[in-house]
Amino acid sequence: MKHTDPRSIQENEKKLVDTLFAAVDWQAVTQLVLEKDLISLKDHLDCRNGRPEDCPDPSACRLGFEIRVPLSLTVDRKGECLDIGICRENRSGRTDPPEKTAKIRERAGEKQEQLAAGIAAMIHEINQS
């Protein structure tokens, strides 16, 4: 038994999302993406434009690129970021669920820690012996 019109809920949800999109501080999001090192060179790169650069070397040219990644941002009612992440597509073209992405990130973190430990051990071995 329905107590209210589901279309009204869906429409208002959409309005809320549209309002949030319009109010997103893109500069802050970009900063967060860079700080968290979420973009890799595997991400889709689009050529945007190119123009000769005004400098003494005539072969110089400034090229613009657009990096496209499926980004998910979760915000609370105060507008604070709760989570930000990249939902990467797997080989079948489907986007991995956030839990899987988190696991991949966790594994990458572990690998990086192992690498850092290896470097520490070698530096110690070289400089202390």
Binding site: Q112, M122, I123, I126
Partner: protein, 256 residues
């Protein structure tokens, strides 16, 4: 006895020759007698210092194959305190001939210590980035390793690769060389290098070994290379020129 510093790194384009040439010139400006050894057949350091390979046989290949003494092969530069042991394509041919001989790996160390070390305060080797006998030779000759780190081009994996190579050389030839430090190239200060170390989770491991001097990106580096003059001589007031001068002082204070 002079100190042998090998400027080494696991890949091309990270600034090994830039650091080698300009560190050598900076130390020479502080009136330290310096020998810059070009150990790369591409001859970047040779070309940059304005040394012409005109006189046949006056190069590192002749020293390694035993046809010439180091003292005969070195070429003086316009800067009185800086000499160069140049390299060219002959070095590649000589290295090919030596590649099957393990004793060849210590040949550069042997000739530099026997024939050059007493006459120079610093011997700076510009190592090639390939993992061949020339890299091994350059690392084996080192008392200390100076590794440029270029944040835009390198990751922790590259640092580990270099450390593995150094460890291999130390174990094989027992040369007792140590890591002098990591110099950040194309990097605009401590905040940038710290951000790189944090991203790679290497702050604890490497921070103590990062030199205070950071070499910034600077178009004047390219201009100096075109002029075949080290940047510290071509434009000492440029951002990178001033940084290399500071780096020379930092290195000299470290070893004196």
């Amino acid at each position: 006895m002079g100190i042998v510093l090998t400027i080494s790194g696991p890949k091309g384009g990270i600034g090994k020759s830039v650091v080698a040439v300009n560190l050598a010139a900076a130390l020479a400006l502080y009136e330290k007698k310096v020998l810059l050894v070009d150990c790369d057949p591409r001859g970047c350091a040779t070309e940059w210092t304005g040394v012409a390979l005109g006189k046949a046989g006056h190069d590192i290949a002749s020293v390694l194959n035993g046809t010439m003494e180091t003292s005969e092969a070195v070429v003086q530069t316009p800067l009185a305190w800086l000499d160069v042991l140049p390299a060219g394509f002959d070095l590649f041919v000589t290295a090919l001939g030596m590649s099957g001989d393990v004793s060849g790996q210590t040949r550069l160390r042997q000739v530099l210590h026997e024939d050059a070390s007493a006459r120079y305060a610093y011997i700076i080797i510009d190592a090639p980035s390939s993992w061949g006998i020339l890299s091994v030779m350059a690392l084996t000759a080192a008392d200390w390793h100076i590794a440029p780190v270029c944040p835009g081009m390198m990751t922790g994996t590259d640092c580990l690769a270099l450390l593995r190579l150094i460890t291999h050389v130390r174990k094989t030839h027992r040369n007792g060389s140590k890591i002098g430090g990591f110099v950040f190239n194309r990097c605009h200060g401590a905040a940038d290098s710290q951000a790189f170390l944090d991203r790679q989770s290497l702050s604890t491991q490497m921070a103590d070994l990062v030199f205070a001097t950071h070499i910034p990106s600077d178009p004047e580096i390219g201009t100096a290379a075109e002029h075949r003059t080290p940047l510290v001589l071509d434009n000492i007031k440029s951002p990178a020129g001033a940084a290399f001068l500071r780096f020379g002082k930092e290195i000299d204070q470290m070893f004196t």
